[in-house]
Symmetry: C2
DNA sequence: GTCTATAGTAAGATAGAC
DNA sequence: GTCTATCTTACTATAGAC
C-alpha cells in the first residue's frame, strides 16, 4: 500500500505483458523499459536487477492470490464452481501473474515453484472444506487445472475473454462439478438427508 | 529411419534434457554441446542454427505422438483410460518432447503451438470415438490435462516415475473416467441395453 | 527520479585446420 | 565429422550528468 510510485507499477505490468505474450526471453530490460515508457536506467532505479523484477512478480502473485481467495470463499456458488469457472478467465490480474510465475518457474527462478504450489494448495484446501472428500476435491481441481492448461496454452489465449476452446463448454464442465459434489455428499452421508 | 548419426540424436537429447530441467534459456549451444559431448562447431555441423535444433524437437514430437497414438488405439483398457493413465507419466520419450515443445511455444517458436494443438486434437478424436459424446470426451481430456498440468508443473516432476502429487490418486481419477464413460453410454442409448 | 554513455560479458554463428 | 579460433551482436549492469 502507501501508494507505490506509478512508474514502478507500469514497469512491472510491462514486464508481465512481455513475458506472457512473447516469453521470458523477450522480456529484456530494454524491451521492458521501452514498453513502460522509461529508459533502461529509469527501470533500474526501481528494480536493481532483473531478478528483482522477477521477485516483484512473485509478490504480485501472492497479493492477487490472497484477494482471489477471499472472493472464492465468499462466492455464493461455492468455491468449487468459482474455481472452475474462473480457471478459464484470461487477462485478469491473478491470471497474468500466474502465467508469468509459471514461466519463471520453468526457468528455475528461485521461489517461483514454491509460490505456485502455495497458491494451488490454498485453492485445494477451500474446495476440500466445501466438498468434504479428498478424491472429489482432487477431481474438481483437475477439471479446473485442465481448463486452465488449455486457456494458458500458447496459441489459445485471448486476453480479456474466455479461451476459444471452451466457449460454450464451460457450462458442461460446471455440470460435471455439480455431479461430483453430489457424489461427495452421497459418500459422506450415505443415509442422512 | 536409415539410422541417423548417433551424435545427432545425442545432441537432440541433450537439448531436450536441458530445456526441460533448466529452461529454454539455459539450453545454449555451448551447454547443449557440452552435455552431448561435442563442441559448439560439432553441434552446428548437425544443426545449422538454434532454430534448426528446435525444429528437430518438433519432428521428434510428431513421431513420438504418432507412435503413442497407435498404442492408445490398441490399448485393451480403451483410449480414455490409456490417455489419463499415461498423462502422469514423466520421462517418457513423448513426455520429454511435449514438455520441450510447450516451452518453445511459450517463447513463440514458429510451429510449436500448432504442433501441440495437432497432437491434442488427435487424442481428443480417439476419445470422442470411444465415448461417443462431446461433453464427456472434453471432461476426460480435462482430467488428463489437469493431471498432466501437475506432472509437468516445475518442482513436481520426477523423471522416470509418476509425479509425487498423484501417487495413489490415479486410481481414483480412473474411477472418475469409468463413471464418465458410463454416463456417456446412458446418454447415447438411454433405453438400449 | 530519469536520462545517456559505456563497460563487461555471454550468446549465436562463421571460417578454416585436422 | 569434429575441432579451435574468431567475429558480431545483444544483454545486464554501472557511472555520472541533469
Amino acid at each position: 500500500m502507501a501508494r507505490p510510485p506509478a512508474a514502478r507499477e507500469k514497469i512491472l505490468a510491462a514486464y508481465c505483458a512481455i513475458v506472457s505474450s512473447e516469453g521470458e526471453r523477450a522480456a529484456t530490460l530494454e524491451a521492458t523499459a521501452a514498453r513502460a515508457g522509461v529508459s533502461k536506467g529509469g527501470l533500474l532505479y526501481h528494480f536493481k536487477s532483473k531478478d528483482a523484477l522477477a521477485d516483484g512478480v512473485l509478490d504480485g502473485l501472492r497479493q492477487a492470490a490472497e484477494a482471489d481467495l477471499d472472493r472464492m470463499r465468499q462466492s455464493p456458488e461455492g468455491p468449487s464452481r468459482y474455481f472452475v469457472r474462473t480457471s478459464v478467465e484470461t487477462g485478469t490480474e491473478l491470471d497474468t501473474f500466474f502465467v508469468v510465475v509459471m514461466r519463471l518457474a520453468a526457468g528455475q527462478h528461485p521461489g517461483a515453484a514454491e509460490a505456485l504450489a502455495a497458491v494451488h494448495g490454498s485453492w485445494w484446501q477451500l474446495i476440500r472444506e466445501e466438498v468434504g472428500d479428498d478424491a472429489v476435491a482432487d477431481a474438481i481441481m483437475l477439471l479446473g487445472d485442465g481448463m486452465y492448461h488449455h486457456a494458458a496454452m500458447p496459441g489459445s489465449s485471448a486476453p480479456g475473454s474466455t479461451a476459444g476452446y471452451f466457449r460454450g463448454r464451460l457450462d458442461a464442465v460446471l455440470d460435471q462439478v455439480d455431479e461430483l459434489r453430489a457424489l461427495a455428499r452421497s459418500r459422506t452421508s450415505p443415509d442422512a438427508g
